[in-house]
Structure formats: structure tokens, C-alpha cells
Amino acid sequence: MSDDNSELSARQRDEARAALQRDLPFALSPSGSFPSPEGGPDLLATSDIVVEAQQIAAVARYLRASLNYIYLSNITAVDLLAHGCFELVYHFYRLSGGPALTIKTRLPREKPELPSLTPFWPGAAFQEREAYDLFGIVFKGHPDLRRIYMWDEFEGFPMRKDFVRQGDKYLSE
């Protein structure tokens, strides 16, 4: 079963990549724009489609309009500290079934900003707020970008790998 699924997901990915190459070639970002650290694991290596961060809204709308990926399921932020970037992972589905289409995009850690998908998929609203709250990623065009879990006065972004935990008496034990 899982073999079928991984084959299907590879085929979906290749089709989507070919379509993007044809219609939105400027959105496919060149690989290797962030350096891999020497010695450490290379978390940037991937077979998934990697797009230019500022084009994510255009790519998502293209997937919905032309390739029938109308369902945006999941948005994940990952802090790749050693590579100096954040990675955002989007999972899209077709309602007719089949595995996810994974779209990744990378942002510099100094200025993590990219367009929001909330205007087109209101279901992204809370997930983008979560990524903002815990990672400090700014989604431009989000109608209500504020903290969702932490309290409003909280400073810092706790899911970042360089977040310094403080005030926890159990930390030193």
C-alpha cells in the first residue's frame, strides 16, 4: 500500500513541477541559496518542490486554479538554524483523493516575511497565526496577525532553536 502511495506522490510531484516550470518558471527557486553547514546534517536536501518565498501566493493560486489542488491542509514552519533560514512546508490535496503535494519555501532568518494565504484560504488563518506566534514569521496580507497561544505581552518566539529559556527553576537540574 505505501509503495503505491509513494509512487503516486512522486508522479503528482513531477507533474506539478513540470506544470510550474511551464507556467510560473520564475517561482521555482534555485537550489542552494542557503549554505549547508560543514559536518552537520543537510536538512535542505529534498525531492519536494521548493518555490521562491515571495511567490508562494501565486504558486498556491496556480495549484488551485490549474491543477485542482483545492484543499490546503497543513502549514508547518521549521527553524533550520544551522542553515540560517526558516522553512515553510505546505501540504495541498485534491478532493478526488491521493497523497499530499508538498510545497516548501525558505526564508532568511533575519527577515522572515512572505505573503499570506489567508485571503484565498481562510482556513490558513489560525495556522499562520501559530507560525507567527511560535516562530516570528510575518505573513504579509494576513488580516489579523497576532499571537494565538502565548499572551500578548510575551517577548520572543519560543519554537526558534536559539530561543533562550529563562525563569524555569527546573532547567538547571
Binding site: P41, H91, G97, G123, L134, Y149, P158
Partner: protein, 369 residues
């Protein structure tokens, strides 16, 4: 008509009908909702960061605490993600045991959700007691296999922690034989109660297009008329071997959401009966003996999802080759199903808010993480 000033009312965070610590900020015109904003975070413990500090196996009992009604389903989704990441095979018998546990979970979750609906509408405790009685029977089965009633911690990478005890299968058979009477009774309580019909029909309608753009999943999506079930759309485990239907609603209101849940209980029973029939022929044992529990997956990432009773439960894991996940992300169904709550409530009376919220079926352990 009298003109009234706008009124702001704060519901929660400590309020019995919010199903946990959850706050709703409402703006009212008379009794009618103009705007409703959910406020989260009262149960936030940064589960995902704690998950990065644990080893892969240590996270297994930790997933029980997400949606504490459905610990077996959480275990399943997490086990699938780690198995995909580390390339672990699962024996056939273990797959059957897993399916039995997850389908039992679905029945107890839906029974509970329907029982709480009556509570939310003021029919205190009687109907809920019927549901809880049924839930107890299933929890007894869970205790038999795992030693715990709610925090089961039963799944392991490559299977389940121990095989079914000899008394389990006869007990399950008895439970399934008695179940149709319970489900019919529950349905009669829903569909023959005039007050309930008045309170739930045409309340909180979620149209198809909105359900899709709001990323809603599970019974809520199906009640809006979209036959999307991950067990069929992207079959995982051994769900492609079972014959079952996907119930859908026609209107997309609160009432449809509960009818869909009733029908899903019947379908789960069908799956369980088929699983019981096929289980004796299943090969292998309850766990893959070669599967290491202190896994060290290769560098990479994996996303898996299951049809949990509340919707799409997904785990996205990133491995850096060490014994701990580099990133441990949960796509929590009841968190994302809450997104349309403001839209669903607008224009309805304040008393309908608790009913609409109940029909989404949230658990705050999962919403706040």
C-alpha cells in the same frame, strides 16, 4: 422595534459548555451575535517543543495527551509517521489490532460527542449517561489490552506493545452484538425529539465551498456534503481491505453533523465485524520483532495523516539523524475545524453558540497543544 446598544459578552475560559478552557469574545445586538472571536492558549504547554526534547519513543505516551478522548487514534498517526520516516514494516496481525482499536475509538468519541450535545442544550445528564455507559464498555476493552483506560500508550513502532489477551475477542463480539440497539436508541433520541430538531436544524450551516476553503475535515466536512474520508481517499494501514460507506449530510447544519456521526458509528461497527472475521488469517505477530524502539531515522522528513474521529490528524516529522525529532508538528483537526466558528455563529442567537461549538467537537488538549 427598540434600538439597543451593542453588548460585549465574554464566555469562558471557565465555562462548562466550552468543553475545556476556551474563551469566546462575542459582540451582541440584543441576543444576536454580530461578531465572535475565539481566544486560545489557556491549555498551551508548547507540546511541539517538548516533543523535540524527547526521544521518538518518549513521544508515544505524550501523544495520548493531545486529544485525550482518542488516545489510540493519536498513537496510530504518530506511529505511522515514525514508521514512514524510519522505514519500519508492520505485520498484518498488528495492522488488524490497530484498526480494531482505532475504530472502537471512533465509536466512543462519537457517542460522547452526541451525549454532550444534549448536555449543551440543557437536557442534563440523562442522554449523556447512555453514551457514557457505552463508552465505559469500550474503555474496559482498552484496559484489557493496554492496562489504561484513557492514556493507553498502546502502539509501538512496528506494531502494538502486547498481543490481545484471550478474553478480548469474545468481549468485543458481545459488545458489537449489543451495539445496534444502542445506536438506534441514540438516533431516536436525536431524530424524534422536537426540541432538539428546532435547536439544531438550519443552525450553523457551513456550505460546501466554505468548508473546503476553511480546511475543515472529518465529520464536519462530510456533513457539508463532501464525501472525503482519508480512509478511502488515501488508504493507510489496511483500510483498503474493508467494505464501508462514507455518510454525508445534505444541509451542513448542526443536525447533519450529528446524523453523520451516528452513521459513522454504524460503519465503524461494519469495519470491526470484518476485521474480526479476517483477524484469524492474519500473518505475523502483534509487533515486528526487528523494529527497534529507540529509532534513529535517516535525515529527512515525513508527513502522514489519518482519519481520526475528529478529522485529519497529521504528524509532520523532520529527522536530523539523531534519536530525537528535529521538528515535531501536529496538524490538529479540532484546532483547524475551529477556524469557521465566527462565521458559523454570526446571525444566530447567543444560546446557539454552545450548540454550534459542540457540533464541531473540540478537545482543548489538541487545540492548544
Amino acid at each position: 422595534m427598540l434600538s439597543t446598544d451593542e453588548l460585549q459578552i465574554n464566555i469562558g475560559p471557565q465555562h462548562p459548555s466550552t468543553h475545556g478552557v476556551f474563551r469566546l469574545l462575542t459582540r451582541l445586538e440584543g441576543e444576536t451575535i454580530i461578531e465572535l472571536t475565539p481566544v486560545f492558549g489557556y491549555l498551551h504547554r508548547n507540546h511541539e517543543q517538548l516533543g523535540e526534547a524527547n526521544s521518538y519513543l518518549q513521544n508515544m505516551p505524550f501523544t495520548d495527551r493531545l486529544d485525550y478522548f482518542n488516545s489510540m487514534a493519536n498513537n496510530h498517526a504518530y506511529a505511522l509517521a515514525v514508521e514512514k520516516l524510519a522505514g519500519i514494516e508492520v505485520p498484518e496481525r498488528a495492522e488488524y489490532i490497530r484498526v480494531i482499536m482505532v475504530e472502537l475509538t471512533r465509536i466512543l468519541n462519537h457517542a460522547g460527542a452526541i451525549g454532550f450535545l444534549f448536555n449543551d442544550m440543557g437536557a442534563w445528564q440523562t442522554q449523556l449517561a447512555f453514551s457514557m455507559r457505552e463508552r465505559e464498555k469500550i474503555l474496559d476493552l482498552f484496559e484489557m489490552v493496554s492496562g489504561a483506560r484513557m492514556m493507553c500508550n498502546y502502539f509501538r513502532f512496528g506494531g502494538v506493545v502486547r498481543d490481545l489477551p484471550p478474553e478480548f475477542l469474545p468481549a468485543l463480539q458481545d459488545l458489537l452484538e449489543a451495539m445496534p440497539a444502542f445506536i438506534d436508541e441514540l438516533e431516536r433520541l436525536l431524530s424524534e425529539n422536537e426540541i432538539l430538531l428546532a435547536r439544531t436544524q438550519n443552525i450553523g450551516i457551513l456550505p460546501k465551498e466554505l468548508a473546503i476553503s476553511y480546511s475543515v475535515t472529518g465529520p464536519m466536512l462530510r456533513a457539508s456534503g463532501i464525501p472525503y474520508d482519508i480512509r478511502k481517499a488515501e488508504p493507510y494501514s489496511i483500510y483498503d481491505r474493508f467494505d464501508f460507506d462514507i455518510p454525508i449530510g445534505s444541509v451542513g447544519d448542526v443536525y447533519d453533523r450529528f446524523l453523520v456521526r451516528i452513521e459513522e458509528m454504524r460503519q465503524s461497527r461494519r469495519i470491526l465485524l470484518q476485521a474480526l472475521e479476517q483477524l484469524p488469517d492474519a500473518t505475523g505477530s502483534h509487533i515486528n520483532p526487528k523494529a527497534r524502539q529507540n529509532v534513529r531515522p535517516p535525515v529527512g522528513d515525513a508527513y502522514t495523516r489519518i482519519e481520526s474521529p475528529k478529522g485529519e490528524l497529521g504528524f509532520y516529522l523532520v529527522s536530523d539523524g539523531s534519536t530525537k525529532p528535529y521538528r515535531y508538528k501536529i496538524r490538529a483537526p479540532s484546532f483547524i475545524n475551529l477556524t469557521p466558528l465566527g462565521d458559523l455563529c454570526r446571525g444566530h442567537k447567543i444560546a446557539d453558540v454552545v450548540v454550534i461549538l459542540g457540533s464541531i467537537d473540540i478537545v482543548l488538549g489538541e487545540v492548544d497543544r
